[in-house]
């Protein structure tokens, strides 16, 4: 078995173990349904197909939206789902080729409480543990920074710029912009200090206390504290960090937000959080695990090695011998004169004709 399948199997086991139902990923979705939602995928990346009926479809661009849509249309029962499927994007770089990205993820609908968020993080941590020893799970709660920004009374245009600069940790330009907006020195320093804060969650939580300006910020920090207290009790882990710069440009996430990083992989392998805006009806939390990135970076997959049994004229004899071996190992039956076609290094052992 290849590493990819081993990972998928193990992830599936975890999610089933926690009572999640499988969501079967449709290959298309309705293009307009997709764009009526606040998606965070660039419109140009979506691959459009014109169905013979004249309808415009999109080759599955975002499983979360499909799943939420099916849930809202009462096509699913229960409210905890996991999926294993492909999404398709047009690359905006150089060749504009279509890329297929294999994703595994979970979605939980209509459960809006701390324990649900903890369960999601717990599953994210277990998923990361499956594939790597050196990873970080960075989390934040978007209302902490939002609460601070509210105090600044910025226009929505400036706010969008500020959010972008925060997400790039671009304190130089942030300082310049806030000066232009006539904010005072203390206000500018506050935000910049928060942007620079990064580290183990306990450490950052303690430091963040001094920045609380209003109820929203207090609630946000209380939530993070409680969340971490319980999470750390049920799944002690030193790899959780707090990072207030986790933002999303389109206001997609509304509470908890998190990203998982694996050493030497340059993009987040897990992205998730709590979102309430989708279809304006739904409270949901979930994440998606970018399996494609992990597979590309893991060392070459070790084959679950096979035994070769060679045969000449007597296929039946070889078959019966192999059948007996197959109880415990994987056996490939090969006709003697075909052996040259195989790379013998890949096999455990070779059993020749006279040896059985």
């Amino acid at each position: 078995m290849y590493q990819e399948e081993v990972i998928i199997n193990n992830l599936r086991k975890i999610y089933l173990n926690y009572g999640f139902d499988v969501y079967r990923v449709p290959k298309y979705c309705d293009y307009h349904m997709y764009f009526d939602n606040d998606s965070f995928i660039n419109e140009h990346e979506v691959i459009k197909i014109i169905h013979p009926s004249g309808k415009i479809l999109a080759l599955q661009p975002d499983i979360t939206i499909s799943c939420a849509h099916d849930y809202l249309s009462n096509r699913l029962s229960g409210n905890k789902f996991f999926y294993i499927g492909n999404v398709y994007h047009r690359s905006l770089k150089v060749n504009q080729d279509i890329s297929k990205i294999k994703q595994v993820g979970i979605e939980i609908f209509d459960l809006d409480d701390l324990n649900t968020d903890i369960e999601v993080l717990l599953l994210a941590l277990q998923s990361l543990d499956l594939v790597s020893d050196s990873y970080r799970l960075d989390l934040s709660e978007v209302n902490f920074i939002n609460g601070l920004l509210e105090e600044y009374h910025l226009s929505s245009k400036t706010l969008a710029k500020v959010n972008y600069l925060i997400s790039r940790r671009n304190t130089s330009e942030l300082e310049f912009l806030l000066k232009e907006e006539q904010l005072n020195k203390d206000q500018i320093n506050e935000l910049i200090t928060l942007v620079k804060l990064y580290g183990p969650i306990e450490e950052v939580l303690a430091k963040a206390q001094t920045f609380i300006k209003n109820e929203a910020m207090q609630d946000s920090l209380d939530y993070l504290q409680e969340l971490y207290k319980i999470l750390n009790e049920i799944y002690p882990n030193t790899k959780v960090a707090l990072d207030f710069t986790l933002r999303n440009s389109k206001d997609y996430y509304s509470g908890l937000i998190f990203q998982g990083f694996i050493k030497n992989i340059n993009q987040p392998v897990i992205s998730g959080g709590r979102y309430h805006k989708l279809d304006h009806l739904l409270k949901a939390v979930g994440y998606c695990f970018n399996l494609e990135l992990v597979i590309k970076t893991l060392s070459k997959p070790p084959l679950n090695r096979q035994t070769i049994v060679l045969y000449g004229d007597n296929y039946l004899e070889a078959y019966n011998y192999a059948k007996h071996l197959r109880a415990n190992e994987n056996v490939l039956l090969v006709k003697e004169d075909m052996i040259k076609q195989y790379n013998l290094n890949q096999f455990n052992k070779i059993i020749k004709k006279g040896e059985y």
Binding site: S134, R136, D138, R168, R169, N170, T171, S172, E173, K196, Y198, G199, A241, F261, I262, K263, N264, I265, N266, Q267, P268
Partner: protein, 204 residues
């Protein structure tokens, strides 16, 4: 654990390295002017890559380098997904559309723009119908030989424009050298990177 740093060859290389050397990130191999593309300080676990300026952000974005020093022009053009952690304040210039004096861009059916920055040209001139001619150097030549009407380029002193009888028609974003960091590397090496940034601020 090595720290990999991508430096842009050319215009900002000397200043970039001078700052890093000032904060203890020296590399003798690099000072010797070797032709090697990978230069190391084994004792301090530093590795420098000398790359084309327009490639620095790609090395950092893909994680081949943990950090790099690059002009803001490249970041604006390519929109790389990196942390842009410090404005180093040197290599200052600005984007401008320039052309022969008296050329009125609002009166053209189609404007032919020669540039190294096709994405920015389309975005800066989005209200016009433009025809982009992508060049890799000697941009100023294009309007002189009527290959293009105007150019979009970075302007430092304006000397090259003057020498070629071109004038600035519109000014756009200001540019300077930036220290950029790979988003995943930051998570694993943030202590070292934060210290480096604080040290650099001291010497700027």
């Amino acid at each position: 654990m090595y720290l990999n740093i991508a430096l842009a060859k050319g215009r900002i290389q000397e200043q970039s390295y001078a700052i890093l050397k000032d904060v203890g990130y020296e590399c003798l191999e690099l000072e010797k002017g070797s032709r090697k593309l990978i230069l190391e300080n084994k004792e301090k676990k530093l590795r420098y890559f000398l790359v084309k300026p327009s490639d620095v952000a790609i090395y950092v974005e893909t994680g081949a380098a943990d950090l790099g020093i690059v002009g803001k022009d490249i970041l604006l053009e390519d929109g790389n997904d990196v942390f842009e952690m410090l404005d180093l304040g040197f290599g200052k210039c600005y984007f401008a559309v320039a052309g022969p004096s008296g050329f009125d861009i609002s009166k053209q059916n189609v404007i032919r723009v020669a540039t190294k920055y096709p994405n920015l040209a389309l975005s800066y001139l989005s209200q016009y119908d433009v025809d982009i001619i992508k060049l890799n150097g000697s941009i100023e030549l294009a309007p002189l030989i009527n290959m293009a009407d105007v150019i979009l380029d970075i302007v430092e002193t304006g000397n090259t424009l003057r020498d070629n009888d071109l004038v600035v028609i519109n000014k756009y974003d200001d540019i300077s050298a930036r220290l950029i960091v790979n988003k995943a590397s930051y998570r694993f090496k943030y202590k070292q990177i934060n210290k480096l940034i604080d040290d650099i601020k001291e010497v700027l």
